[in-house]
Amino acid sequence: MERVQCVNVSLIISLSGHAEKSIIHRVKAEFNAGQMSLITGVTGAGKSTLLHILAGIIRPTEGEVIVDDQKVSRWMAYHRDRWRKKVGIIFQQPHLLNDLTVFENVCLPLIPQKMPMQTIRKKAFHALDCLGLSHMVGERVTALSGGERQQISIARAIVSGPELILADEPTAHQDMENVTRLMDVFEHHKRKNTVVIVASHDPRIVESRRFNACFNIENGTLEKVQ
C-alpha cells in the first residue's frame, strides 16, 4: 500500500423527521506509507467517525477513500471485507470478548486467515510480547484494568501485520511508560512501510513530535496543521 487518500469525504446522517446532520464535511487528506499521522480534535469533532470510514466500517455519503488509486469506499460489501483484512483498528472502547482469554482475543483477526494454529499462536505471542503483555496470556479480560484492556486491543490490531493501522485514543488510561512503548510499536510498523493514523487529544502524544503529519478536525472539517 502506497497511500490512503480522502477526497471530499462527507458523512451526513439522518435524524428524526427530515433533519440531517453533517458529521464529516468534505475531508481532503493524504496518508502515506511509512508515515505516522496524527488527527487531533475535541471530543465529538469526528475523529472516530473518520477512522471508521477509513477502516471500511462506515461508508461515506459523499466523496471517496482512495487506496493506491482504487476507490475502496465504493467497493461492494464483499470487496470491502477484503479491504478490512488489511486494516488493524484500535477502537476507542477496547471491544474485547469478555469470556475469552487475552490470548484468544488477540488471535481473533488471524482465525480466518487460513494459517496453521501454530503460526497463529506464534504471531499472537509476538504481538503481546511487543507490548510487554506476555505475562497476561491466559488471563480473562474481565480481570483486567481499562488500560490493560486497551493494550490488548492494540495487540489485536497489530497481530496480523496490517498495512494500515488506525488507532483511536490508544493511550487512554495508559501511563507514560506504556505510551512510550506504544509509540515505539507504531514507529516499528511505520518503518515497515505501514500507514499509521492515530486519533488522539492526549497531550503526551500530541507533544511527542513523532508524527510526520498532524491534522486537526473541528466540526467534521479536517485541516492539516503540520
Partner: protein, 390 residues
C-alpha cells in the same frame, strides 16, 4: 475446509463459551431424533418381522371343519386331495396344538426325523426329540423363574396330561419361529393333543407360484370331500399387522411432541445466532469476511448437530433392534417371556434413519444459516452500535 482448520477449532472453542447452551441443544436434538425415529423404525421392523415369519411358513394352511370347530385331518385323503390340485407343490401334515404349559398356554408341535431338515432353517436343531423329551423355545419359560435353572420336567395339559423332560432350550439366536414353542416326539404330541395315527392338525400346502396361492383356493375347496377352512399368508399377515398398526398409530402420536421440540430447537437456534450481531460486527471490523462469519456459525452448528444426530439415530436403532432389547416384541406381539428382538432390514432402516436425520438437520442448520447470513451481510458499524454489547 479442513476439519482441523482454525475456524473449526474456534467453533469448538466457541461452544465452550456457552457450554450449557450447547449441551441443551445437543440433548434436545438427540431426544427429538429418538422420539421421531423409534416409531418409524418400529413400524418398519414390525412389518418386516411379520413378513419374515410368514415367509418361513407355508403358502396355505388347510384345516378340516365341522360345525363351528375344527376336526383332525385324515392325512392320506387330505394329502391326496390337495396334491390333486394343479399348482400344489406339496402338502405336509402338521401335528400341533395349544395346550396348558408350565406357565401359560403354549404351542406344542410333534416332530419326526423328516421334519428336522425343515426346522434346521430356523434353529440349531440337529435331531428330533426322543419319546418323553421336549425341546423348548426361550420364550416358554420366564427368565425369572427358570432362565438359569431349567426345570427338568414339564407338565403339559392337553387332551391328556403329559410329563416330559426338557432336552434342549433353543438360544435367543434362533428364529422367532421356535421362540415360544415346545417340540415333542410325534407320538407324545399325538397323545397330548388327542390325535389318532393317520390324522394331523392341518395340512401345510406349498404352491409352485406364491402369487397363485389365492387363485387355487376354489380348486382346493372343491378337491376336499369335506368342508375345510383355508388360510393364506396374507390373511395371517393382516392378523399380525392389524394389532401392530393400532399400537404403531398411537406411537406415531409421539411425532407431535418431536415436531414441537424441533420447532423450539429451530427457534432457539435462530435467536441464538441472531443475538450475536455485536460479535459479528466486531469480527467484521477485525477483518473477517461475510463468508468467514457464516462459515464460523455453520461450523459451530455442525459441531453440535452432527454428533447429536449420529448419537440420536444410534440410540433409536439400538432401542428397536439391539439384540438384548426386546420391548417391541413384548409390546406388539405380546411375548412376555424373554421376547426376541425384531428382524433387521438394514437397507430399509438406513433409509428411515437418513430421512429422520435430514428432517432434523436441515431445519436446524437452516435456522442457524439464515441469521448468520443476516449478521454477516449487515454493516459492521450498525452491528457494533446495536444493543447487547458485551
Amino acid at each position: 475446509m479442513r476439519f482441523a482448520s482454525p475456524t473449526w477449532l474456534w467453533a469448538a472453542r466457541d461452544m465452550l463459551r456457552h457450554p450449557s447452551e450447547a449441551i441443551l441443544t445437543a440433548l434436545a436434538l438427540i431426544s427429538v431424533i429418538v422420539v421421531a425415529a423409534v416409531p418409524m423404525l418400529l413400524s418398519h421392523g414390525l412389518s418386516n418381522t411379520a413378513q419374515r415369519l410368514l415367509d418361513s411358513g407355508p403358502s396355505l394352511v388347510v384345516r378340516k371343519l365341522a360345525a363351528g370347530h375344527w376336526l383332525p385331518m385324515p392325512v392320506e385323503d387330505g394329502v391326496k386331495a390337495a396334491e390333486s390340485v394343479t399348482g400344489v407343490l406339496s402338502a405336509v401334515p402338521r401335528i400341533w396344538g395349544v395346550v396348558g404349559g408350565p406357565e401359560s398356554v403354549t404351542t406344542v408341535m410333534g416332530v419326526s426325523e423328516s421334519d428336522v431338515q425343515t426346522l434346521k432353517r430356523f434353529s440349531d436343531l440337529t435331531k428330533s426329540p426322543a419319546r418323553g423329551e421336549a425341546f423348548i423355545g426361550p420364550g416358554v419359560l420366564s427368565a425369572s423363574s427358570n432362565g438359569d435353572k431349567v426345570e427338568e420336567l414339564l407338565l403339559l395339559n392337553g387332551q391328556k396330561e403329559l410329563s416330559v423332560k426338557v432336552g434342549k432350550i433353543f438360544s435367543g439366536k434362533n428364529s422367532m419361529v421356535v421362540h415360544d414353542i415346545i417340540l415333542l416326539h410325534e407320538s407324545d404330541a399325538r397323545k397330548l393333543l388327542g390325535l389318532e395315527k393317520g390324522f394331523s392338525s392341518d395340512l401345510a400346502i406349498h404352491v409352485f407360484h406364491e402369487q397363485e396361492a389365492d387363485a387355487i383356493i376354489p380348486d382346493l375347496l372343491d378337491a376336499f370331500p369335506w368342508p375345510v377352512a383355508i388360510t393364506t399368508k396374507q390373511d395371517t399377515l393382516k392378523i399380525y399387522t392389524a394389532s401392530g398398526d393400532r399400537r404403531a398409530g398411537l406411537i406415531y402420536l409421539a411425532l407431535i411432541p418431536s415436531l414441537l421440540g424441533l420447532a423450539l430447537i429451530v427457534t432457539a437456534g435462530y435467536r441464538g445466532t441472531r443475538s450475536r450481531f455485536y460479535e459479528a460486527g466486531l469480527l467484521k471490523s477485525l477483518g473477517w469476511t461475510s463468508q468467514d462469519i457464516v462459515g464460523f456459525f455453520m461450523c459451530k452448528a455442525a459441531l453440535i448437530a452432527f454428533p447429536s444426530v449420529s448419537l440420536g439415530i444410534t440410540l433409536a436403532y439400538a432401542l428397536v433392534y439391539w439384540p438384548a432389547v426386546s420391548w417391541p416384541a413384548y409390546l406388539f406381539f405380546g411375548w412376555q417371556n424373554n421376547p426376541p428382538g425384531l428382524y433387521l432390514n438394514s437397507s430399509g432402516s438406513f433409509g428411515i434413519l437418513i430421512q429422520v436425520s435430514a428432517g432434523i438437520l436441515v431445519p436446524y442448520l437452516a435456522a442457524n444459516l439464515w441469521p448468520a447470513i443476516k449478521n454477516a451481510t449487515a454493516d459492521p458499524h450498525v452491528l457494533l452500535q446495536a444493543e447487547g454489547k458485551m
